[in-house]
Symmetry: C2
Subunit: 519 residues, 2 copies
Amino acid sequence: MITLREVLGRAERCFPTNTAVVPLAGGPAVTWAGFVGRVRRAAGALRSLGVEAGDRFAIICRNDPRQAELIHAGYWMGAVPVPINYRLAPVEIADILDGISPRLLAVEDHWASLAGELVSAGRRERLLWIGSDNNPVGEPDYETLRDASPEDEGRASGLDDDALLLFTGGTTGRSKGVRLTHRNIAANGLQLLAPFRAAEDDLMLHVAPMFHSADLLGTPLSLLGGAHAYLPDFTSEAFLGAVQKTRATFTLLTPTLLIRTIRSGGIGDFDISSLRRIAYGSAPMDPAWIRRTVEAFPGVELVHCYGLTETSPILTTLGWNQHLAGLEGGDRLRSVGRPVIGVELRIDDDGGNRLPAGAAGEIVARGPNVSGGYFDRPEETAAVFRDGWFHTGDVGRLDEEGYLYLLDRKKDVIITGGENVWSAEVETALYAHPDVVEAAVIGVPDEVWGEAVLAVIVAAPGSSLVSEDGPDALIAHCRRLIGGYKVPRQFRFIEAMPKSAMGKILKSELRRRYRLDRG
Amino acid sequence: MITLREVLGRAERCFPTNTAVVPLAGGPAVTWAGFVGRVRRAAGALRSLGVEAGDRFAIICRNDPRQAELIHAGYWMGAVPVPINYRLAPVEIADILDGISPRLLAVEDHWASLAGELVSAGRRERLLWIGSDNNPVGEPDYETLRDASPEDEGRASGLDDDALLLFTGGTTGRSKGVRLTHRNIAANGLQLLAPFRAAEDDLMLHVAPMFHSADLLGTPLSLLGGAHAYLPDFTSEAFLGAVQKTRATFTLLTPTLLIRTIRSGGIGDFDISSLRRIAYGSAPMDPAWIRRTVEAFPGVELVHCYGLTETSPILTTLGWNQHLAGLEGGDRLRSVGRPVIGVELRIDDDGGNRLPAGAAGEIVARGPNVSGGYFDRPEETAAVFRDGWFHTGDVGRLDEEGYLYLLDRKKDVIITGGENVWSAEVETALYAHPDVVEAAVIGVPDEVWGEAVLAVIVAAPGSSLVSEDGPDALIAHCRRLIGGYKVPRQFRFIEAMPKSAMGKILKSELRRRYRLDRG
C-alpha cells in the first residue's frame, strides 16, 4: 500500500512526460511532472495562508483542475481537504464548516453569491478565491498565488492518517464527515485496477462532482500514469463534447445522467469513438435501460459499481462479461456484482448473526477501503463501525455464486439523480413547519432520477396545507432549510400514518402504497 | 492486502463455479470451490503426516496440479512449502534439506530415482509419494490420502508470516532460501494486475517450473477467479499443444523457450488463437528476437518482466504499448520497463549514494513485495537487505522518463535458459578438481540460451586438463557436484588470470576478451 503522496511521487518518477490533466477550459495539457510541480506550489500557497499538516481546509468548486490541485496539495502536505457540496443550502454548509473548523475556505468565483451569503451570515474563515471574477478577497487568486509560491516539500503522511473528509447526509438530520485515510483511498484505487481494466493510456472524464466519493474512481488511472479531465456542469451536449475534445476513454455516470444523454438523441452528433468503458452506479438501473445503454454506446463496455462514501467508495463491481451474460437472459443484470479484492461481505440478520447464501439481510463489509468512522461523531461511528466491520444499512442477499443483489435501503436513503437524500433529514425540515403533525419521506421509482422524493404528510386539522397550494408552500418552506435536490417533488396528505404496535411509522406500508402509484 | 489463505477464501466465496485448474493429464476441470476443497483436504493430509503451522515441507515435483494443491495447503494451514529444484545435484538437494529440516518430503513418482539416491545417502525425512508409480513408501499416495482426509480448518496467518521458501543460487557456493511472506506474494499479485491486464476469464499456462519464483506470476489470476494449467515438461510441441488444449490466454516464457518455440517452426500446426499475452523475462532478449516474436505470435501482446526471487518476483514491467513504441525505433525495447505500483527504485554508487537519472549503478529496490531476507542466513541477509532496501546486485540506469535499463550483473550471475547460475558456485566446483589452479566463470552471449557458462581455467603445470579431453574431464567432474544446467559448456585454458592491483581476478577483462569470441 502506498500513501496518496507516494502516488504523486510515483507518477513524477515513472510517468513524468505522460499527460496528467487535459483542461477543458482550454490551454495545453499538463504532464504528470507539471501537475506534481503545481501540487507542490499549491501546497506552498496553502502554507502561506496558514494551512499546516493536520489542518482541514474546505473547497467549494465545480469540477476543475484547480480543485484537483488543491485536493492533491492536501495529500502532499498532510492537510485534509474537505470538498463541499455546493447544492446544499447555506445553513447546511455553515453547519459543516462549524463542525470542521477549516483553516481556509477556497471558493470558485462561480459561487461568489453563495460565498457572499456565508460571509454575510458572519463566517470568518479565511478565503482563497479560485478564479478572478468577483474577487472580494483583495488578495491574489489561487492561480496567481500558486505560481508565485515555492515548491513545498510537504510531509510524509502515514497510511492511516486522514487524507480526505467527504460529507454525506445524516440520518439524524445533520450530515456526517466520512474520514478517508490514505490507505482507504489507495486501496480502492488498487482494487479497481482490474474491474476497470485501467491502462496507462486511459483518460477519465470526471463527471460526478468532486465533493462526491465517485470522484475517487480516478485513482486507478493516477496509479498507472493515466490522465484526467474535469467537467464542471453536466448537460448531455457538454458531456459528449468533452469526450470528443479530450478523447476520454473512461467515465462514471449515474443512471440518471446516462438516461438523459441517451434521451437527448445527440450521441450521433459527436465523435465519442475514444470511449472504451463507462462505469455506472450509485443507484439501481433497470435492465431495460442497461440494454438501451449498450445499444446507444456500441463498442463501449459497462461496469456497474456499488459502494458508499464510507467504503472509498466501491465494494462490488459487475463487469462487462457479466453484462454480456445478463443480456442473454437470467437475473444477472439486477446484481451489483462481486466484491473487489480485499473486500469481504457478510449478510447479517437484525441480531447481527451471519446469514447463509440466498437469505436477505443487512450488507456488512470490511476491507482496507473501509473508513474508520465519522469525523467528531463517536456515537454514530460506534453504531455502524463495529469490530472492523461496516454496517452499510443496505439490505441485500448473496447468491450461491457470490453475486450481491441489493434489495432495500435499511438506512432510509433515497437516491435521486445520484445524490443521497436521507429521509430523516427531509422529515426534520418538514416537521419544522407549524402545520405538519406527522411526516414520512420515501423514495418512489422515477425513470429519469432513479428515485423521486415523496412526502406523506398528516397536517393539522383545518390547515391550509391540505389545499392545492399546500405542496408549493411546503416546497418553499423546505428550500430555506435543505438543498434543492432534497426537497420533495411529490406530496400525499393522509388522515393517519400506518403504524407498528410500537407506534413506529410503517414506511414499508407507505412504500407499498405509493411506489406503484405514479400520481 | 490479504493473505494467500484469504485469496483462497475469496475465490471460494466469489468465484465458486469458475474454473481454477485445467488438468493437462486429462479429467474434468476443477472449479475454485473444488480446488479449495482439495486444498483443505490436502492440509488435512499434511497434518495427518505431522506437518503443523510453522513447519516446513519440501516438494520435488514437476509442474502439476497436485503440487499447486500442496503449496496452497501450506498457505491454508500456515506451514511453509519449499519446492525444490530437481535439476540440482543430489548433494545440493541434500544440503538444502539439511538447512531447512523439513517435516516431510513430497516426491513425484517421476523423480523416484532421485528420491532413491537421497534415501540411500541416509536421508530420513518422511516421504509423501505424489503419483502411484514406484512407490517405496508403503503408504497411500498423496491423492488417495487427500481424498480420505477431512477438510482442515487451517490457520489464519499474519501478513508478515512466511508463506513460501524458494531457493536461489548462492554467491558463496551454497544456495539460499528466500523467505517470501503472504504480504510479499499477494502484493506482487496486486502489482501485476494492471501490467498483465489480468481478467477473470484468463487462463495461465505455467511453463516455468514451480520451484522458480516465476510461478508466482499466476497470483493475479487467482485474485480474479481466473484459471491455471501446469505444463510438466517443456518441448515446443508440448507447449503449443497445451495452449491449444487448455485455451490458455496467458503464459510466461524465458527468451530461450520463446526462441526454441519459434525455431521449431511448429506454431502454425496448432490453434493458439486463445493466447492474448505472453510475459517474458529473467534474461535479456535481443530486440531482433522481440521483433521475430511479434511476427511469430500475431495478435499476442508482449510484456517484459524484470525481477528477482527476493522481490516475489517482479520489480518492473515493459508493457505492450511500450513494445509498440519500441518497434517503431529508439531504444525502448532494451529497457526492462518501469516499476510496478508500490515499488521504488534507486540507483546507488558503490558508496551507497543515490545517483541521478542517467547514471549507472546498483539497482536498489523497496516495496511490499520485497522479501525480509534469507532463511537462517543473517550475514547474507544483512549484506543485501539494508534499511528496508534490497540491493539487487544488478547494475542499471534509470532514464529521464523513469525507464530502467539493465547493464550488468554485479552479483556475477549468469542466466542460461532462464535459470540463474552463480559463477561462484561453479567456480567452487571447478576448484575442487586437483588440477585446477585458478578458475573464473563468466556468461557469454548465446542466441538460444541467452547466456552460456564459460569457464576460464589456469591448470597445474603439465596437467592433462590442457588437452583435447580436458573439457570433458571437467564436465564429468562438475556434474557430480552441481546441477547439469550450471556445468560450463565452454572452456578456455590460459597461462595466467588478468588481475587487479589488489590481486582480484578481473572478470570484466575476461568478459571483454571472450564475450565476442564465439569460439
